[in-house]
Symmetry: C2
Subunit: 153 residues, 2 copies
């Protein structure tokens, strides 16, 4: 993550933005938790551990900024909270591949999986509807193995 951090600073500067302690700290929180889906409030709580002076407004302003820069991804998992996670492009592990979410209707657990299955679909849509797909988001709702074991659904 040190190299990741350098990358981040460069991106800020390239966009005429300043590198502040708060911005680095917020990205760090998300970067240390790939695959975690945090709400603004949760990010705020984590950042406060290291920087208790930070304000919630700054968290909101920063995640909006990071989201626009494509450094973090905004998620709506259907539970009424807007959530964020480190951007696909930045998380080394995911290699820039899309990943999607499995949401358990019983226990609420969220699992990630990767798949490039949609590529053929996206091409077809471009041909038939003239719509050029740039990004996608897939959510599958169902019951995870744990919950399927517990009860008979």
């Amino acid at each position: 993550m040190p190299e990741n951090q350098e990358q981040f600073k460069k991106i800020l500067k390239q966009n005429g933005l300043k590198v502040t302690t708060q911005r680095v700290a917020i990205l760090e929180v998300l970067n240390c938790r790939p695959g975690k889906h945090l709400t603004a409030e949760e990010i705020y709580d984590y950042v406060k551990i290291k920087y208790p002076e930070i304000g919630l407004a700054t968290v909101y302003r920063t995640i909006q900024l990071l989201s626009e820069l494509g450094l973090i991804d905004k998620l709506n998992l259907g539970d009424g909270y807007v959530r964020y996670e480190i951007g696909r492009k930045n998380a080394e592990e995911t290699n820039g591949h899309h990943h999607h979410h499995l949401i358990c209707l019983d226990c609420g657990s969220i699992y990630a999986f990767q798949d490039d299955l949609l590529e053929t679909l996206e091409e077809r849509i471009k041909e038939t509807m003239g719509f050029a797909v740039k990004d996608h988001e897939v959510k599958l709702y169902g019951y995870c193995s744990k919950c399927r074991g517990n009860e008979s659904i």
Copy 2:
């Protein structure tokens, strides 16, 4: 929609719920606009045309109820609003098939398309992860034909 309305009343009764003017009116608003994605406030405005006495709280309570009954679908199109549309199972036209959304990053238009492509994926997930998929939601972000014509993106 008259037969649809009978069906709706039956469902309410089956669940021990009462058939009220407000509930019928709200479902009617959504039922008359298949494919439209309305926010609670928008639903409220439409219903008020016929029933000016209705309260916003009732709209919220009712859409939550209708959503639980599966009569309407909750949508998060990423624009910060929670939206609703008539449920797949009830909209005759869609035949109960899943439909997904194309969201234009430029003009914000939302198009629907149908596809059963995910079925093979869902089976694979069940086998490999033990996760039984019951429903899915797919959003594709990109640029629609109109916007692609206007500018060179």
